[in-house]
């Protein structure tokens, strides 16, 4: 790990000023940043420890029924907040399907949005990666592309965003609150991450020094609570990144789908909202034929970026299954194996 200055600012203003210097990075939970530093993938000259900044650690219920989640809320605390899990069960399930209990105890909401790809070539510092070194080339092309994207990728980068949490958040129209030297502003999570294009190193809209301070879910997101699931396909039963995943949420009124929310994980450079697929479901019955049709729509633009064509069909099936699980109803208690196809579906449903 390179040498760095460690500063622990007391206020937002101090933090933003300290982090606006070139080479500075924010440190919160550290689960991704320290891993990257130990691998030499990033070498920040200054760490601005915001883990104790006041006012960022609360889950606030808003008057309109929405929720504002402070950027420093730990993944486990959010997932196990009973009110949060009741209103946004797919988000809680996504959170608990990710990483390990220890990492979830450390990782923060803000940090989760900013976690870097797990592309093996991004980690392979001796090889070329446009994300690490713009213009160096992409060795993932023609390389280890099993985990690479099938949607939204470019010739310059085929890496995927690894988050589970963000997939459920983006499905439910989460909004990111950001503070910077110019003050505070907000941006829909769907627009927060950028597609790689020719600049895969620029992964989000954040400017130097800008800090995520909260993530908001609108009140409407809670209207899906009875039919909301996260499904994650993995190479082992737990503690593995998604090969592909999907969040699905339905509002079913009088036997027909009144509203649908679908997003995919592990298949694109960002948490991937599937709006066309959502539209295909409005007004139809919650049945497999329509779910399959929606899944087709969700992957309509997909193309392999390497030896990963299997993911397109797999992702379709995951979307269809996630919709079927959501239609069957949110379980009263999160399954023992969150997000897993090995969690039995029988039992009492969410009320």
């Amino acid at each position: 790990m390179n040498r760095f200055d460690y500063v622990r600012p007391a206020t937002f203003a101090e933090a933003i000023a300290a982090a606006s210097e070139p080479g500075a990075a924010y440190l919160a939970g550290g689960t991704n940043l320290l891993d990257l530093m130990k691998g030499g993938i990033v070498r920040p000259g200054r760490l601005v420890d915001v883990s104790r900044l006041p006012g960022l650690g609360a889950i606030e219920w808003l008057a309109d029924g929405g929720v504002r989640i402070g950027a420093l809320v730990r993944n486990s605390d959010l997932a196990h907040d009973s009110e949060f899990a009741r209103r946004f069960p797919a988000v809680a399930e996504a959170l608990l399907s990710g990483a390990s209990a220890q990492l979830r105890n450390m990782a923060t909401v803000g940090g989760n949005l900013l976690q870097r790809t797990r592309c093996a070539h991004f980690y392979d510092v001796a090889g070329a990666c446009n994300k690490r070194a713009p213009g160096a080339g992409c060795e993932a092309r023609g390389g280890e592309a099993r985990n690479a994207a099938v949607l939204g990728w470019s010739e310059h980068c085929i890496a995927t965003h690894p988050s589970d949490f963000c997939v459920a958040l983006v499905a439910l129209d989460a909004v990111v609150e950001i503070a910077g030297q110019g003050g505070e502003y907000q941006v829909p999570l769907e627009d927060f991450h950028r597609l790689p294009g020719e600049t895969p190193g620029q992964e989000s809209v954040l400017e130097p020094g800008e800090l995520i301070i909260a993530v908001r879910l609108p009140a409407q997101a809670a209207s899906f609570s009875r039919h909301a699931r996260y499904l994650k396909i993995r190479d082992r039963t737990s503690f593995a990144f998604a090969v592909a995943s999907a969040a699905a949420a339905l509002r079913i009124e009088q036997g027909a789908i009144a509203a649908a929310r679908i997003a995919l994980g592990g298949v694109a450079p960002k948490p991937w909202r599937a709006r066309l697929a959502e539209r295909a479901l409005i007004g139809v019955g919650p049945d497999r034929t329509h779910f399959d049709r929606a899944a087709e729509a969700a992957l309509a633009d997909a193309r392999p970026s390497g030896d990963n064509a299997f993911k397109i069909e797999l992702a379709r099936r995951i979307v269809a299954r996630a919709l079927a699980l959501a239609a069957a109803g949110t379980p009263a208690r999160l399954p023992a194996l969150p997000g897993s196809p090995f969690s039995p579906v029988a039992g009492v449903l969410h009320v």
Partner: protein, 755 residues
């Protein structure tokens, strides 16, 4: 109550009650309190930290290292490169016996594989040494690496494993296959695997003049000591290797490795104690791996499903500079009866580190292929896979024609099948689903592993206070040597566990042989028992020859040693305590020595193997392909069981390695760079707790009068074999898809079936 009758001393019996007891681990409290001191936990005064810099190319030479940049980092004490390394007394590329590795000790600028050590950075702190290694920013002259099995011309290796012939045949396989009514031919691929014990290789080395003390995990203390001595040109007795606990070994801590030697060299260079611990990614190269294989099996049967021919050909790889050829075909020598069996090998040389022994070397890779092929053959015959295995049960070892020293495999099949509920299995695949609609499949595999013994020694002492000491330089890497050998030792001296001190885990104790080949309990156990017998025999001679003893004149009748007393064998009312015998003889203690080795006559006459049967249930999502092994039942027969609690744990561990082999482990190597692309525990998958929801091991009773006097076979490796194939076969039974490339991953079950 067990009774040990040692053939060497028929006159005197020792009765003990420790062997066979499910004692908890004697090192348990140390291990649950953090008090067990592993190598990297040592911190002698003045110690510095050493970190390896390793090559990022797989073939070429190091053109430049930025030593100045590294030295400029605060806290850096020295950079060891080929320019300033201390001299060695032996060429690191010299190889005088198969039990040594050619090593990279900075002897030149050549790079032979990715992650090869190219420099060592020594610093006051771990943080400084780690960053110093990064700052060396090596430049290379790189050549195109060859890392795939198809990347080079193959040749027939002169030998496989350790000295096994690379071709063997009985009968005429081609004739057998030609005369078969049904035939199958299939090629199976197994990947590169890395041992990845939880404890990375570590060494703390401290020189005192020409004497050296090292703390380092070693599965072979005496071999390590000798290797160090010859490399540094010092007498072996100047080298003390301490390895009381290994944080897992699995073969990669068997032969002394380059990084361990580099730690010693670093300490010599700076004249201070040095600690060197491998980073996890450095475990993917310089400390060995299981080589990939392509195995082609051809089987044929008559109308009744009896094998008429079995051909097992393996293509595998070694490094460009050293020999280790995974003996995968050899498993076909022993398991299934066939009038014609042929095993053969070819190999290529690749720009990788040298492969080495990895838990069930050969047997594990070979077993998953053979057990899959046997299932395919059973299917071709329309037979239940268990019935097919019983149809081809070998009453004699097929390749040699020798009788088995013991073989309770039928009982393993029966007890395992009963416990698992095998008889409810539908013959056809894809016919079982659970309540959630998941496909369910059941598979079986036969487990086998040779019952080996190496040479070992031990020393036993009985003191005048009636207590004992038993010493042997054994290695406990989790299998439970501290406990099981102590149980044998206590019985050997006729003492309780509390009356006996057991010393182990250091090279200044008698050589216990290597902890490998599932042979350690037999090897060290027989030496320990022999030492006890020797001490008791001397004690008995003292007593029976002493007129003042109650045992006087009992020399011909013999005595029994039990609970710290000798009893006259034909009249147990006459006895005397060890303490009384020694005190009267005015002796502070009496010493016995024991040694062990395989019995060549028994070996010539018998085939010696442990056996087992493993039954696996998998569930597979029919659309998504994700797999979970929901139930495992293994039944194993391995001779006398010293401690059933620990043996059960060994079986569990082996079975989980089998699951890992079938479904998880895969070293991903980029053919363009030769670099491992998943050199971490996040992406090099091994099972986690949630992968193993249900596991059972049945200890099938078996007596073996030939393997050794204690009747011990090995248990450490056998359970991988059988299990890996059982899981693969269960996946077929669940899905109807026969996957021949391992590990079986979900896309292989979801992609369209090849035409």
């Amino acid at each position: 109550m067990s009774e040990i009758v040692l053939s060497a001393t028929p006159a005197h019996l020792r009765h003990g009650s420790n062997i066979g007891q499910p004692l908890t681990r004697r090192d348990g409290i140390l291990k649950v309190t953090g008090g067990a001191r592993f190598a990297a936990d040592n911190h002698p005064p003045g110690m510095l930290y050493a970190v390896l810099a390793v090559s990022s190319v797989a073939r070429g030479r190091v053109a430049a290292l930025d030593v100045a940049a590294a030295k400029a980092h605060p806290g850096i004490v020295e950079i060891m490169t080929s320019a300033n390394k201390p001299p060695l007394a032996l060429d690191p590329d010299a190889k005088t016996n198969p039990f040594m590795r050619r090593l990279e000790l900075l002897q030149n600028d050549r790079v032979r594989y990715a992650n090869q050590p190219i420099a060592v950075v020594i610093a006051e702190t771990l943080e400084a040494a780690t960053e110093g290694a990064a700052l060396l920013s090596p430049r290379y002259e790189e050549e195109a690496p060859r890392v795939r099995l198809d990347a080079a011309e193959s040749f027939v290796p002169p030998a496989v494993g350790v000295g096994h012939p690379s071709e063997a045949e009985i009968g005429d396989v081609e004739t057998g296959l030609a005369g078969s009514l049904r035939r199958i031919e299939a090629t199976y691929e197994t990947p590169t695997q890395f041992h990845n014990p939880m404890e990375p290789h570590a060494i703390v080395a401290a020189w005192d003049g020409d004497a050296l003390t090292v703390d380092t995990p070693s599965q072979g203390l005496a071999m390590a000591q000798a290797r160090i001595a010859e490399l540094f040109g010092i007498p072996a007795e100047n080298v003390l290797v301490r390895s009381p606990f290994l944080g897992g070994g699995f073969g990669c801590k068997g032969l002394f490795t380059g990084p361990q030697v580099l730690g010693i060299m670093a300490a010599r260079l700076v004249g201070r104690p040095v600690k060197l611990v491998l980073r996890r990614e450095q475990m993917f190269g310089p400390v060995g791996h299981r080589a990939p294989t392509q195995q082609t099996l051809r089987l044929g049967t008559d109308a009744d499903g009896a094998l008429l021919g079995l051909s097992h050909h393996t293509r595998t790889a070694s490094s460009t500079f050293d020999d280790f050829f995974e003996p995968a075909s050899d498993v076909s020598h022993t398991l299934y009866a066939s009038p014609a069996i042929r095993t053969s090998y070819e190999a290529v040389r690749l720009d990788t580190g040298t492969p080495t022994f990895m838990r069930a070397p050969g047997e594990a890779s070979g077993s998953i292929a053979l057990e899959s092929a046997i299932d395919e053959m059973a299917e071709a015959c329309g037979m239940d896979p268990l019935a097919f295995r019983l149809r081809n049960y070998a009453e004699l070892e097929p390749i040699s024609g020798k009788p088995f020293s013991s073989k309770a495999l039928r009982a393993c099949y029966a007890e395992g099948a009963e416990r698992f509920g095998w008889k409810a299995r539908p013959l056809r695949p894809r016919e079982m689903r659970d309540a959630s609609g998941l496909l369910v499949g059941w598979g079986v595999g036969t487990a086998t592993f040779p019952a080996l013994m190496f040479q070992g020694q031990a020393r036993a002492v009985i003191r005048k206070d009636g207590t004992g000491i038993v010493e042997t330089g054994a290695q406990d890497m989790g299998q439970g040597a501290w406990t099981a050998l102590a149980q044998i030792a206590a019985d050997g001296l006729g003492l309780s566990m509390e009356q006996m001190e057991f010393r182990s885990g250091a090279s200044n104790l008698p050589d216990a042989g290597i902890a490998g080949g599932s042979a350690h309990t037999a090897t060290a156990g027989m030496a320990v028992a022999g030492a006890g017998a020797d001490a008791i025999a001397k004690l008995a001679a003292l007593a029976t020859g002493d007129e003042r003893s109650a045992l006087f004149g009992a020399g011909n009748a013999g005595v029994i040693a039990r609970d710290g007393r000798l009893f006259r064998r034909d009249d147990e009312s006459r006895s005397e305590s060890y303490a009384d015998i020694l005190n009267r003889a005015a002796l502070a203690e009496i010493e016995g020595r024991g040694s062990s080795a395989a019995d060549p006559i028994a070996q010539a006459n018998y085939a010696m193997h442990a056996h087992g049967a493993v039954f696996a249930e998998v569930k597979v999502d029919p659309e998504l392909g994700q797999i979970r092994v929901t139930r495992l039942v293994g039944a194993f027969a391995a001779g006398r069981i010293i401690n059933p609690r620990l043996v059960r744990s060994q079986y569990y561990g082996g079975m989980i390695w089998g699951v890992s082999f079938a479904l998880h482990e895969h070293g991903e190597i980029d053919p363009r760079s030769g670099r491992p692309m998943n050199p971490n525990l996040g992406e090099y998958h091994v099972p986690v707790n949630a992968d193993i929801p249900s596991i059972e091991a049945i200890l099938v009773a078996e007596e073996d009068r030939h393997v050794n006097a204690l009747g011990i076979k090995g248990v450490g490796e056998i359970a991988i074999t059988g299990t890996a194939g059982a899981v693969a076969n269960a996946v077929w039974h669940a899905t109807g898809r026969r996957i021949r490339r391992f590990p079986i991953t979900l896309e292989r079950l979801t992609e369209p079936a090849p035409r």
